[in-house]
Symmetry: C2
Subunit: 212 residues, 2 copies
Amino acid sequence: MTTIAVLGSGNVARALAGPWLDAGHKVLVGSRDPRRTEADRPLPGVHVTGLPDAARAADLVVNALPGRACLELLSSLAPHLAGKVLVDVANAVETDAQGFASAVLHPGGSLAEEIQRALPAVRVVKTLNTAHVSVMAAPRTLATPPSAFLSGDDSDARRTVGALLTDLGWPREWIVDLGDLRTARAPEAFLLLVGSLVRAWGPVPFAMSVAR
Amino acid sequence: MTTIAVLGSGNVARALAGPWLDAGHKVLVGSRDPRRTEADRPLPGVHVTGLPDAARAADLVVNALPGRACLELLSSLAPHLAGKVLVDVANAVETDAQGFASAVLHPGGSLAEEIQRALPAVRVVKTLNTAHVSVMAAPRTLATPPSAFLSGDDSDARRTVGALLTDLGWPREWIVDLGDLRTARAPEAFLLLVGSLVRAWGPVPFAMSVAR
């Protein structure tokens, strides 16, 4: 059992918190405005606190904060994150008029690497950012197998996060350990396709995959 | 029947030339050193010429030249390419000691966009760069379905290239029309994963896909 703090109170945080709770973990949700989250959209069975309290109490922290704001928010939590694994599932993109990604915010790099640079005492692992929110904890709902990628400079941390993915229903053979954090650049670039894919297919769930 | 000039005499050019010939097209291969190509590794049934002759004779031209050299080579062919569809299947990357991509040469952009900028009278369509050479003309050999992406600013050109993909054995439902050429950035970033995937799985064929 791991005490997991999911930072963020949007759809991604909700998609992850419940299944990890069901898998037997202790799950906290950290919100910038916990009272409003509890009032407007409570999470059954999950304690919602402020971001610092959630980060402090957790063994492992998940970044499901908005991609454009998370670097600053996470930096402010540095003392509570030191030594912990930080699972980054966010995407930092500029958006077009339809709300789809038109450019990545860190071309030639990645959000995950920026977080690691800002928080050198944290072990960042990038994962799940290439799957639609409805697929993150239900990969078998797609007709063809998606991939879950792991990028991070610490191999133990990647292994830890890989185990948490199996708790979300990911078969081990669909999880691809890519290696160091630089590899997060390719999964993050996948976001550039989301608008095109929705325009081509409509709003159906999908996820990046490597076919073999 | 289209007269297709495949520029390049390496494995990618060879993987495409034969199947298009078999599909009933007239296929020329353009080489920087056609006499050496004919002597060392002839292509059965395919006429090998210099790059300018191949480009001049073709209705449609395929860039299967080395990614680092192709921008300069294609620019030198500009008079022979004007008005034609240019299918870009190349990848422009920096490589590590093992020969795998360590960085893309055009971060925040793409090779395809650079070619389009250098050759404004050409209609560039990016495709197939996300598939192992053995998959490009044999997508059904993988256990799970790969995707073939089409990126280009001219929708007629994308349609033309989509038809040529079906001639290579790609089912229409595996071909994803992404839209304008900026979308080539994501498929080009896929190359950053190739080294990791080969290290994880060994030298097996694979290709990028979108699972849905």
